[in-house]
């Protein structure tokens, strides 16, 4: 698929901007802080309903405005569609496809597919489990949008259960918390049921991603020493789980058993300690974990490989996602830069941002825009 037109209204630094786009490579060149990333961030937002830079929607709306609008025309299987998302911080966002209102904003997920590479990806290797869970869940939703609903349900069950654990914990220390404890069983059951659905999907996703990751890493880090060329990713649940289990019923039973076993701990601490929200991904390079052992360059290659693998996986599902490279080339040495350029050269649409034109490899030629002070001009 590719985007043929992007229009932003009160999004980030843009009051109003219209950018005609086409298949192939498009580069946005401009000094830092002039609004290059904002353009590609908007496209990624349509694909994930989230930003790769901030957790909440408020910073996405131009200072002084009450709502932001992202509009994009996309072509997919030779059919075009107009996607619109209205960002209303503090209120429900709204989405339209071909001018007809969708019941919920999240129903727009699945219309746009994009994979974004950015300097922030380094967090996938170096930082917290939540970064890696976020990566996995976003990819899951890109592949099957229905999981946006499963995830939302799971988060709500978790909030209900955590509130109950807190009150039950307090009550137990004070007078009687019997009523609270009685309803805890109910939330346990729902947490295990919905948690197992999410867990099964994540496990299957990691299985599917694995072969692509191996290939991607070998291509990105062609100069790596022999014992450090094999990159692998494994799912690390928050409790002991037999490795090959993928069946939802079995996972649900395993979760229930573990929840029952940890009940006292959970009541003491007033928080849910078992479930997909406590899981992590283990990234290994050769024999050693990437986190803590990989060099800066290796970490970068790993992060790139994770994104490339996501791209290849989505592509194998049948539809080329839009590939976005946000300020990535400046961070890479010459060898990796050329490797990456060679790999992405075959994508249906590539959007690149860079501070100076020299950062963009020569083989990625195509349309070019200069971005200066929130003005986008074709060169």
């Amino acid at each position: 698929m590719h985007v043929t037109h992007l229009s932003l209204h009160d999004f980030r630094s843009y009051e109003q901007v219209d950018v005609p786009l086409s298949a192939g490579t498009t580069a946005f060149i401009g000094a830092n802080g002039h609004g290059k990333t904002n353009l590609v961030e908007a496209i990624d937002y349509l694909a994930t309903l989230g930003s790769h830079r901030v957790a909440s929607d408020a910073p996405l709306v131009r200072a002084g405005a009450s709502q932001a609008v992202i509009r994009a025309s996309v072509v997919r299987d030779e059919r075009s569609a107009l996607l619109e998302v209205e960002i209303n911080p503090g209120k429900a966002n709204r989405a339209r496809v071909n001018r007809s209102q969708l019941p919920r904003a999240r129903d727009v997920l699945g219309w746009m597919r994009a994979v974004l590479f950015s300097p922030e990806d380094l967090a996938l290797v170096k930082r917290d489990p939540s970064d890696r869970r976020g990566f996995l869940d976003k990819l899951l939703v890109l592949r099957s949008p229905r999981f946006a609903g499963v995830k939302a349900d799971y988060d709500r069950i978790l909030r209900q259960r955590n509130t109950l654990l807190k009150t039950a914990g307090f009550a137990r220390r004070g007078t009687s918390g019997d009523a609270a404890v009685a309803t805890l069983d109910v939330w346990d059951e729902h947490l295990a049921h919905t948690g197992a659905e999410l867990l099964a999907a994540r496990l299957q996703l990691v299985d599917a991603l694995q072969p692509y990751l191996g290939t991607a890493y070998a291509r990105v880090a062609a100069d790596a020493t022999a014992d450090r060329t094999s990159a692998a990713v494994t799912y690390k649940p928050s409790f002991e789980l037999a490795e090959a289990v993928r069946d939802r019923t079995v996972l649900s039973e395993a979760l229930s058993a573990e929840i029952a076993r940890r009940r006292k701990d959970e009541l003491d601490r007033g928080i849910s300690l078992v479930g997909p929200h406590r899981d992590d991904l283990t990234l290994t390079l050769g024999e050693l974990p990437a986190k803590g052992y990989a060099s800066h360059g290796e970490s970068w290659s790993f992060a790139l490989a994770l994104r490339l693998a996501s791209y290849d996986l989505l592509r194998a599902d049948g539809d080329d996602p839009v590939l976005i490279l946000d300020d990535v080339f400046a961070e890479l040495d010459r060898g990796r830069r050329d490797q990456l350029a060679a790999i992405v050269g075959t994508a249906e649409q590539v959007l690149v941002t860079a501070a100076v034109a020299e950062d963009v490899p020569d083989r990625l030629t195509g349309q070019r825009f200069d971005v200066h002070d929130a003005q986008v001009t074709s060169v």
């Binding site: 129903d107 229905r146 609903g149 349900d153 709500r156 069950i157 909030r159 209900q160 259960r161 509130t163 109950l164 009150t167 009523a179 609270a180 009685a182 309803t183 069983d185 109910v186 939330w187 059951e189 729902h190």
Partner: protein, 199 residues
């Protein structure tokens, strides 16, 4: 801002559910323009409704006397009990004219975030009603959302040891709808709850 009493009216209206500041202003000006007789009737109903309406001592539905019309009706099937969250759900089920049993209104659904547990709902009253064995089937008709499902699960655990038939309303496809427009969750549920058509 409007002067004194008009702004008071807009503020009061704005506190009603589903009425935002714009709607509140529109209703306020409608009232200012309306026939004084109409407004007086509205005001009377508002005062009387709080004084006269009570909750049925048996089922918790809104009623004008001690018992609601449904509980007082001798033609109702005493062996079936339909458990709902709110009085408005009773009206919804009544409109179907399919159900001839009686109701039990819980007064909400279990939601720890809002501080609602079984003690805040009319669960104890439900258990008392079931004590004398006249009811043989309990139909759980709580909302098909997270909190409603949690409430249904809780009640199922509580009722199963009593040895009566406990059923849950089916969830699935809307009648007269198109399969292609159903969302994945609904369609998934409909698949789970599919039934054989040879009997």
């Amino acid at each position: 801002m409007y002067e004194g009493i008009v702004q008071d009216l807009i503020d009061e209206l704005g506190r009603l559910p589903g009425v935002g500041p714009k709607s509140a202003q529109r209703i306020a000006f409608y009232i200012l323009d309306a026939d004084p007789g109409d407004v007086r009737r509205l005001a009377e109903v508002l005062t009387v409704v709080k004084e006269k309406v009570r909750f049925c001592i048996t089922c918790g539905n809104v009623a004008e006397s001690e018992q609601c019309r449904i509980c007082a009706d001798p033609r109702r099937d005493l062996s079936m009990l339909c458990v709902v969250e709110e009085s408005k759900d009773v009206v919804a089920v009544e409109r179907t004219r399919e159900f001839r049993g009686r109701y039990h209104v819980l007064g909400g659904a279990i939601s720890p975030i809002e501080g609602i547990g079984p003690d805040e709902l009319r669960v104890k009253e439900l258990m008392q009603r079931l004590a004398d064995d006249t009811v043989t089937e309990v139909i759980l008709a709580t909302d098909p959302n997270l909190e409603g499902e949690a409430t249904a699960t809780y009640l199922t655990r509580l009722l199963r040891p009593l040895g009566l038939r406990v059923t849950r309303l089916a969830s699935g496809l809307p009648v007269g709808g198109d399969l292609e427009y159903a969302d994945e969750v609904t369609l998934g549920r409909a698949f789970e709850g599919r039934r054989s058509i040879d009997d």
